[in-house]
Each structure stands twice: as structure tokens, then as C-alpha cells.
């Protein structure tokens, strides 16, 4: 057995899986609260990665960053999360809010339109070509090259470590927020029963805005993470990432936050191993097959509970 290939795909899968997990968390939160499949979520991820690129270019380009690299990483994340979050809140306010009581299909089609609009507006403004992202140095050579070597001669870069560590921090912060704070409690209540929560005096609009902000901020952070380790940005990158992340959310059990993380890792690993061992062009088909299999065997996802529909 070729251990080098196996461990390489394992690390790549975990890195990519972390990115999917972050996007899936936002999908899952929005779905849990509004029962809305927000197709535009993947495009927020795209916008987040372009914001990160803008910060790098703003501080002298990737090769000669003229501020401290840690400070720049912090700025990239802060800007991408803030920008992504605000974009998510705007989308909610202007595109979805009026459709809350409309038939289910109306917000879905609107979400499709928002996603299409964002993708093409990004193409208009930024151009359709791929732009290259990273390779800023830390401490001496580019972070995608610099790192350490695992057994079996597998190279792990600092970029991958930043992605995994950053994801863990964000997931813990989110869990604490949802479990321990007043707003987090309100979010869980609205997700459980919006009408009853409103009668208990919870400001539902406010909770939904907060949910969109946090979910979209996570997608913005995921955009920066992805680009630190994979180095390419282009306007249509959000589509497939959104699709995979949604699959991750469904596989883990939609509306269930630990499930989304589990699903994200699973999808990332499945994609990496199918690229390594089967075929790079058909990795999408394999993820699709996983989705179908989970929906046939366990429609509520791996960690989700079956919901009894009440009239």
C-alpha cells in the first residue's frame, strides 16, 4: 500500500473538509431557523475569499507583505467575516424577508436569483479569470511550502495547520455562543418553533438577522481558509463549494451543528480519496452518490432526528 498517497489525501481531505464544515454550518443554521435553502451561501464564501485577496493586495501583494504576517492574517479574517456577514444580512433583509410566509418555492427561486446575480456581478467587477492568492512568507518561505514532514514523507504546510486550527477555534466559539448566550438560546428557540418563540417575546427578526450574520461570517472565513491552502479565486467558485457544503449539512443532519462538522469532514475526505484513488473528474459524482445513499437510508442525516410533521 502506498502510504504516502494515503496520508497526503487524508491531510488534504481534512483541510478541505474543514472548509466545507464551516460553509455547512452557515447553511445548517439558516435552514434550521428559516427552513430556507440559501443557494447564495456559496457565493458569500466566494466574496469572502475575494475580500481576503483584496487585503493581501492592499498590503503590498503576496510576495512582499509590509506588515506583520500574523496581523495580516487577522485582518484578512476580520474583513472577510465582517464583509461576508454584512452581505448575508443584506441578502436576508432585501431578498428573503418579504417571502417568509410565501409558498416554499418562492424563496428558493429568489435564492437562486441572488446566487446568479452575485456570481455575475463578481464577474463584471473582478473578471472571470482565476486569480492567484497566497504564497506570502512565514517565517521565511511561502506558508504553502513551509511546514513539517509527517511519517511516510508527507508534507504538511503551515497553511493547512492554520485552516484546521482556525476551524476548531471557530466551531468551539460557535458552540459556546449557541449553547451559553441569551441570543444563542433565542436562536434555538426560534429554530424549534418560530411562532411560539415570538409569543414568548423573542424578537424573531433580530434573531434571524444574527443567524444570517454569523452563518455568512463563517462562510467568509471559509473563503479565506480555502484560498490560503488552495490559492485560486474565481467568481464561480462558490457554486460547487456550496453544493458540497449543502450535501455535508444534509449528510450530517440539517439543522444540527455537530452534524454539519461531521458531514463536512466526511465530504472532504470522500472528495480527496476519490481524487486520489478513482478519478478527479468524477469526484462530484461520488459525493452525489453519498448524498443519495444517505437520503435513502437515513433521510434525517447521520446525527439528525426524524421530525414528525404536525398539521
Amino acid at each position: 500500500m502506498n502510504w504516502n498517497l494515503f496520508v497526503t489525501e487524508l491531510t488534504a481531505g481534512i483541510t478541505h473538509g474543514c472548509v466545507y464544515a464551516l460553509i455547512a454550518l452557515g447553511y445548517s443554521m439558516v435552514y434550521g431557523i428559516l427552513k430556507l435553502l440559501n443557494f447564495a451561501h456559496g457565493d458569500i464564501y466566494m466574496v469572502g475569499s475575494f475580500i481576503g485577496l483584496g487585503i493581501i493586495n492592499g498590503f503590498g501583494g503576496a510576495t512582499n507583505v509590509h506588515i506583520n504576517v500574523v496581523l495580516m492574517l487577522f485582518l484578512m479574517f476580520a474583513a472577510a467575516m465582517l464583509g461576508g456577514g454584512l452581505l448575508g444580512v443584506m441578502i436576508e433583509r432585501f431578498a428573503y424577508r418579504r417571502l417568509r410566509s410565501a409558498p416554499r418555492i418562492a424563496p428558493l427561486i429568489t435564492a437562486l436569483g441572488v446566487s446568479f446575480f452575485l456570481e455575475n456581478a463578481a464577474q463584471l467587477i473582478l473578471g472571470a479569470q482565476q486569480q492567484s492568492y497566497n504564497s506570502f512568507s512565514w517565517p521565511s518561505s511561502p506558508i504553502a511550502l513551509n511546514g513539517f514532514v509527517l511519517p511516510a514523507q508527507v508534507h504538511v504546510s503551515y497553511a493547512q495547520i492554520i485552516v484546521v486550527a482556525g476551524t476548531i477555534v471557530l466551531v468551539i466559539a460557535l458552540t459556546l455562543f449557541v449553547q451559553r448566550t441569551q441570543t444563542g438560546k433565542a436562536m434555538r428557540a426560534v429554530s424549534f418553533d418560530r411562532e411560539a418563540a415570538a409569543m414568548m417575546g423573542i424578537d424573531v427578526d433580530h434573531v434571524i438577522v444574527v443567524t444570517f450574520f454569523i452563518g455568512s461570517a463563517l462562510a467568509g472565513a471559509a473563503g479565506v481558509f480555502n484560498c490560503i491552502s488552495y490559492q485560486q479565486v474565481f467568481p464561480t467558485m462558490g457554486f460547487q463549494a456550496g453544493l458540497f457544503a449543502f450535501t455535508a449539512a444534509v449528510v450530517g443532519g440539517i439543522g444540527n451543528l455537530p452534524g454539519s462538522v461531521l458531514g463536512g469532514l466526511l465530504i472532504g475526505l470522500a472528495e480527496a480519496f476519490s481524487i486520489g484513488y478513482i478519478s478527479s473528474t468524477f469526484s462530484q459524482a461520488i459525493v452525489f452518490a453519498i448524498l443519495i445513499a444517505v437520503m435513502l437510508v437515513r433521510p434525517s442525516g447521520l446525527l439528525g432526528r426524524a421530525v414528525v410533521q404536525k398539521v
Binding site: 437562486l112 417575546g201 453544493l243 450535501t247 473528474t281 452525489f288 437520503m295
Partner: protein
């Protein structure tokens, strides 16, 4: 939350306007509707409603049949043919989305399946040259079966899951079409060339209907028209039937439909298969005229365009399908030429103002203010930076010289155009938050900004502008008029 001390007082019910118990809104507004019908317009409206629907469809067919008689222009007939294809696609999608209320995002995969199916069975690719009259039923039945297979795993699930499964399926199909030049069975056999990969399948045969070879554009136009009218008739009859009523009840409330004893799962599958069959049929027509098929024609942009047609016309309405495809496809074609596109842009802008801004006094203020602000900005900025008027507008004639003096055309508009595009989006969003006089006043700078962005950025990149507009159509229509142009609004029981 502070314990509800800011709860607004319940407004006293307006006796005259409040619906009575047991009377829905529609009945309650009976008097209002009667009054609206007065006058000449009302008379015409009332008379038009008496005409049976099929008469409208038939008159559309007759009118369309005269198109090749009036013009020999190959381009116009080609646009007509494409519009008919889009009408067929929208007709099929109308069954799935409009009648049954299922969101099918893999719809264009069936279209591609039909096109590739025809191309494989009637081209030198595999040396097969089947009779068209045999291929069409085979492809249509195969598409329907494929539709059944796709809907099968998701039939018990909510609409959202169906959407994502079909979206994946559509993407999967595009991947197969694109990489189909070396497909091997689970990596065990050697790679077979099935779809030609990025090169597509060239040299596809023309239609051959039992000895009648169709090779001219006119011939295809009439074939497409006849097929469309037949499909329209079938769909109309199905819509009037028991199945059609069952679909609509499924769309309105799946749970209630199930409780009424309707076979919900079977209805969903039938709707899916029906839509897929029409898409497959359309695909054969597409392949027959173009004599070559490529995977890029069956990707997400096509899907969104068909959705925009359906939504604009009104999902669930057959007349809406015709109107939506006509309006969207013709405007997309017009947008290809910058000169024409600019005309359309200003005419639509003016018409929107004319319809939406009332009373007349305000219309005069907004129009005058817009003109004045444009000229003022032009005068001030051009005297400060001469390079801000170095560019050219894309139309000639009176409109061109007017625009040259009214809108700024910087020599190098790319960056400033991009920034103003973002500002314009924010400004338009801001407009929706304002009301009454504030909104009307805010319109003035927004329109000037829109003209600037249009002249300097949007008209320069027609292919992206088209797609942006499609996205905007979907968002705006869903928020402002979800029933589309011809659909009927849902009657909510009070």
C-alpha cells in the same frame, strides 16, 4: 427583550374594508372589482375574459406561422426558432414547477439528454443513422424514464431536498457530457468515447420525417411550431384533467392532498417524467437544427434563463409560458447589440417611471430633476476633469448626442464603473426602504447613477449584463409579483 412595553395598540378594524366572517377577500372585494370594469378598458377586459383560453393559444400559433412569410432574414427566423425551443422548455418546466410545485434544478440535463440522444443515434459517431420518427419516441420515453429515476430517491422528501438532488444530477450530467470522451466502467475497462467530451458530437443528421428531409431554417421553424402547438394541446388537456387538478392541489398543500387520498408520490413522479419527456423532445429539435451538440449548452445559465421565463410569465399559466419565453429571449437577443440595448434600457426606464410614479406632478418633478441633475453633474465634473467626458456612447442619432451631453463618459471607465455599479446596487436597495416623497426624491440621483453605470460598464459587457438581468428578474419578480405577468394570485381565505 424588554417585557413587551412597546407593543403597539391594536388598530380599530375599518368596518367597511374588513372582510366579514365566512367571506374571503376575493368575495369581499366583489364591488371593487365591478367598479374597475367600468369604461372602455373594463369592457374590453370583460369581453376578453369570455374568449376561451385555447383561442388565444391558437391565434398565437397562427401569428407565429406568418413570421417566415413576412421576413427572409435568417437571423430573425433563427431567433424565432430559439424562442420556440425555450417555449417548449418552459412548457415542460411549467408542469413540474408550475403545476406540481416541485423545484427541479436538473431540468436542462434532460434537454441535454435529448440532444445527445439524438446526436448519438443519428450521426457518424457510432455509425448509426436511425429514422427521426423512430428516434424521437425512443428519446422521449428514455427521458421520461430518466426523470422517474431521478425523482425516485427524493419523492418522499421535502421540496428542498428534491431541489438539491436534481441540481446535483444536472451537474453530474454536465460532467459526464464534458468528460465523456474516455468513460470506463469503474476504471476497470479501457476508456470509451461516448459524448465526444469537449469536442461534442459533430455532423449530426438533419431531421428526416418519413422521407421528408428538413434542412432549411424555415422547415425547422415550422417543425418546432407544430411540435410546440401539439405539446401545448397535450399539456392543456392534462391540465384540465383529473391529474391536472390533483397536481394543483399537491402544489397548494401536499399534506391536505395526501389526506384527501391522492397518490402524492405517484403524482410527483408523473409530473417529473412528463416534464423530462418534453425537455428530451426539445433536445432532439435542438440537435437536429444545429447538427452539432456541445455540453456547454446544458449548464446552469440555461436553467436559470428557463426559470426566469417561467417566473416572468407566471408559473402555472400556459399563456405565461408563451409570453415569458418571448419577452425574455427576444430581449436577451436585443441586448447583444449595444446600440439596441441602450434604446431598450431608456425606453424601459421611461415606461417604468410613467407607470409607477403618480400623480403627474411628481412625474414631472422626477423627470425634470433627473435631466437637470445629469446636466449639472456633467457641466461641473467635465470642467474639473476633462478626461471624464473622453469616452463615447454606444448609440448614434438624437439619443446618442443627448446622452453624450447628459451622461459622463470617462476615457477609462472600468474602475469608476465598477465602483458605481456597487453603489448603484446599494442605492436601489436603499430605495426600497424609503417611502412616498423621500423615495421619489431619491429616485432622481439613482436614475442618473443607473444611466452612468449602464453607459460605462453594463453596455460594454453584454454577455454578463444579460445574466445579471436574469438574476435581477428572478429576485424582483419573486418579491414584487410572485404570480408573474399572467399568473393568477393565490386567493387566501381570511
Amino acid at each position: 427583550m424588554d417585557g413587551g412595553k412597546d407593543i403597539p395598540p391594536v388598530p380599530a378594524p375599518d368596518e367597511a374594508r374588513a372582510p366579514k366572517v365566512g367571506v374571503d377577500e376575493w368575495v369581499a372585494s366583489h364591488g371593487e372589482r365591478r367598479e374597475q370594469r367600468a369604461g372602455l378598458v373594463g369592457r374590453v377586459q370583460t369581453e376578453l375574459e369570455r374568449v376561451p383560453r385555447p383561442a388565444f393559444y391558437l391565434s398565437f400559433g397562427i401569428a407565429a406561422a406568418f413570421l417566415p412569410v413576412f421576413t427572409n432574414n435568417g437571423y430573425i427566423i433563427r431567433v424565432g426558432f430559439d424562442t420556440l425551443l425555450y417555449m417548449l422548455l418552459a412548457l415542460g418546466l411549467n408542469i413540474v414547477v408550475g403545476y406540481a410545485g416541485l423545484l427541479d434544478l436538473g431540468y436542462v440535463a434532460f434537454y441535454g439528454f435529448g440532444a445527445f440522444g439524438y446526436a448519438m443515434l443519428a450521426s457518424p459517431k457510432f455509425g448509426l443513422h436511425w429514422d427521426t420518427l423512430l428516434i424521437i419516441p425512443v428519446v422521449v420515453v428514455a427521458s421520461a424514464i430518466l426523470g422517474l429515476l431521478v425523482a425516485l430517491p427524493s419523492r418522499r422528501l421535502l421540496g428542498d431536498y428534491l431541489a438539491i438532488v436534481t441540481l446535483f444530477f444536472g451537474q453530474f450530467f454536465v460532467t459526464v457530457y464534458q468528460n465523456g470522451n474516455h468513460i470506463s466502467v469503474l476504471g476497470l475497462t479501457r476508456g470509451y468515447d461516448v459524448t465526444g467530451g469537449p469536442n461534442g458530437i459533430p455532423n449530426v443528421d438533419n431531421f428526416d420525417l418519413g422521407g421528408l428531409k428538413i434542412s432549411s431554417l424555415q422547415g425547422y421553424f415550422y417543425t418546432a411550431l407544430i411540435i410546440f402547438m401539439l405539446a401545448l394541446l397535450v399539456v392543456y388537456l392534462v391540465d384540465q384533467s383529473r391529474t391536472g387538478r390533483a397536481w394543483r392541489s399537491l402544489r397548494e398543500d401536499p399534506l391536505a392532498a395526501e389526506l384527501m387520498g391522492m397518490p402524492v408520490n405517484r403524482l410527483k413522479l408523473v409530473a417529473f417524467a412528463f416534464g423530462a419527456a418534453i425537455a428530451g423532445l426539445t433536445g432532439t429539435l435542438f440537435a437536429g437544427l444545429n447538427t452539432a451538440v456541445f455540453s456547454a449548452d446544458f449548464d446552469v445559465p440555461t436553467l436559470i434563463i428557463v426559470y426566469a421565463m417561467l417566473i416572468l410569465g407566471g408559473a402555472g399559466s400556459l399563456g405565461g409560458v408563451i409570453l415569458g419565453a418571448l419577452v425574455v429571449n427576444v430581449s436577451l437577443e436585443v441586448l447583444r447589440t449595444p446600440g439596441h440595448a441602450t434604446w431598450i434600457f431608456y425606453v424601459v426606464l421611461a415606461a417604468t417611471l410613467l407607470v409607477k410614479v403618480r400623480p403627474w406632478k411628481w412625474l414631472a418633478i422626477v423627470a425634470g430633476g433627473t435631466l437637470g441633475l445629469g446636466y449639472a453633474a456633467h457641466a461641473i465634473v467635465s470642467s474639473a476633469w476633462p478626461s471624464s467626458v473622453g469616452g463615447q456612447t454606444s448609440v448614434g442619432g438624437t439619443l446618442g448626442s443627448f446622452l453624450q451631453g447628459w451622461v459622463l463618459h470617462p476615457t477609462n471607465p472600468r474602475i469608476v464603473g465598477n465602483i458605481t455599479f456597487v453603489i448603484l446596487v446599494l442605492a436601489v436597495l436603499g430605495l426600497t426602504l424609503l417611502h412616498d416623497w423621500q423615495r421619489r426624491l431619491a429616485m432622481i440621483p439613482t436614475i442618473c447613477l443607473a444611466a452612468f453605470v449602464w453607459e460605462n460598464r453594463l453596455v460594454v459587457e453584454p454577455s454578463i449584463t444579460r445574466l445579471i438581468l436574469i438574476g435581477v428578474i428572478l429576485i424582483v419578480l419573486m418579491n414584487a409579483r410572485p404570480q408573474g405577468l399572467l399568473g393568477s394570485a393565490r386567493v387566501e381565505i381570511v
